[in-house]
Symmetry: C2
Subunit: 228 residues, 2 copies
C-alpha cells in the first residue's frame, strides 16, 4: 500500500501540450520531466542510486510511484538523463575553450574553472557519477557505455594540453601527463562530496586555490628540500 498522496499541484500545468518530446537533445524533454530528474538527482546523490527507491522520488514530487512511469520507462532512464545532461554540458564547455587560441597554462586553468564551476549546476550529477559509476557500468547491457567514451574524450583533451604545455616549456617535463590529468580530474570532481553552494567559499575561490597549489606548489619559494 502506498503512502497517502500529499497533493501539491492540484491542477497547475494541467492540460499543457506535452507531445514535444524528442527535441533539443535526443532523449526527450519537458519542464515537468526536467524537474523530476532534478529531484531524483538530489536523492541519488544523497543516498546512492540503488538506495533511492522510485517511491521516494515520487513522494518528493508529490505523486505516487506508479505515476512516475508516465514520464520515464524505468529508474535507469532517470539516472541516465541525470548523467547525460551533465556530461553534455561539461564536454561542450571544454570544446569551447579548446577551440580558442589560449596558451596551455591558461587553457588548463580555464578547464579547471569549468570543472569547479559545474559544481553549481551539476553537484548532484557529479556525485552520482562518482559514487554509482562502477555499479552502472556493471549492469549487464551496455546502456552506460557512454560513460567510458566521455571519459576517454575528456582525458584526451586534458592530456594534450598538458603535453603541449611541456613542449613549450610552460610545464615541467618530469611529470607524467596522464597521471597528472587524473590527479586534477579526481580532485576537482571529488569536491562535489563536500562542497555546498551556500558555504563560505564559492566555486571560483575553490578554483583559484587549486590552480595556485597545482601550478606553483605548496612549498614556499625560499626553501630547501625542493629537489628541483
Amino acid at each position: 500500500m502506498e503512502p497517502v498522496s500529499q497533493r501539491k499541484n492540484s491542477g497547475a500545468t494541467s492540460a499543457t501540450t506535452r507531445a514535444r518530446r524528442a527535441v533539443a537533445n535526443g532523449a526527450g524533454a519537458s519542464e515537468r520531466r526536467d524537474h523530476l530528474v532534478k529531484l531524483a538527482a538530489e536523492l541519488f546523490a544523497r543516498k546512492g542510486f540503488q538506495a533511492t527507491t522510485v517511491r521516494e522520488i515520487a513522494l518528493e514530487a508529490g505523486i505516487l510511484s506508479g505515476s512516475l512511469y508516465h514520464h520515464f520507462d524505468s529508474k535507469e532512464t532517470i539516472v541516465d538523463e541525470v548523467l547525460r545532461t551533465f556530461l553534455d554540458d561539461v564536454t561542450a564547455r571544454y570544446r569551447a575553450v579548446l577551440s580558442g587560441d589560449g596558451d596551455p597554462r591558461s587553457v588548463l586553468s580555464e578547464m579547471v574553472r569549468i570543472g569547479f564551476g559545474s559544481l553549481d549546476a551539476h553537484r548532484a550529477a557529479i556525485t552520482v557519477m562518482q559514487n554509482d559509476w562502477s555499479y552502472l557500468r556493471s549492469l549487464p547491457d551496455d546502456r552506460f557505455g557512454y560513460l567510458d567514451r566521455a571519459e576517454d574524450e575528456v582525458e584526451r583533451m586534458w592530456v594534450e594540453q598538458i603535453q603541449r604545455g611541456q613542449a613549450v616549456g610552460q610545464f615541467r617535463s618530469d611529470v607524467d601527463p596522464k597521471l597528472t590529468y587524473r590527479m586534477i580530474r579526481d580532485t576537482v570532481w571529488v569536491t562535489a562530496r563536500w562542497f555546498r553552494p551556500d558555504g563560505h567559499l564559492d566555486t571560483g575561490a575553490l578554483a583559484d586555490h587549486f590552480v595556485k597549489v597545482v601550478f606553483d606548489g605548496l612549498a614556499s619559494g625560499d626553501e630547501t628540500g625542493g629537489s628541483r
Copy 2:
C-alpha cells in the same frame, strides 16, 4: 531456491577452536571470518554495498547465504568490519609518524606515502568508504558514526602539520590549510578508483609523483605567469 553449492573447502580447518572472539580489536576475529570479510570487501568495492547481495558473498566463499549468518549477524556487520580494519590501520600509522620529530614537510610527505601505500592492503575498503559513505551515514541508527569521528581526527592531524609548516616557513602562507588538506585527502583516496596493484606503477611511484606536483608545482621553474 539457492544455486548449487560448489564446495571448495571440503574439510580444511574443520574443527578449529573458534571461541577466540573479541580479541585484538573489539569486534571479533578468526581467519575464516577475516577471509570472508576480504571477499565481501572486493564485491562491495566492485558493485557497491547495496548492489552486493549476501548470496553473492556466500557464493564467492563457496557456501550458501544462510551459512554466512553463522559468522556475521548482518550484512552491515560485514561492511562495518571492512571499514574499521582500514581506519584502525591508517590512523595508527599516522599517529606513529606524528609521534616522531620530523619537520612538517617530511611528516606531510610521509603521511601522503602512508595514504598511497594503504592502497596495497586496503584498496577495496577505501573504495567502499568513498562510494558508500553517504548511504551508511544515512542509516537510521548511528552505527557508522565513527566514520565522521575518524575523519575529524585525521583532519586535525593533517591541518596541524600544514599550519606548522606555514609557521616555520616551509609552506606558503597564502593557502588555506583545511582546503589544502581536503584536496590532498581526496586526491589520495580517490586513486583507489582506478589504481590496480598489478599495473605499471606502484604506490611508491604514485606518491612520488603526487608529492612532486603538490609541493613544487606543475609550472616549470623558469616561466612567466607564476604570480608568486
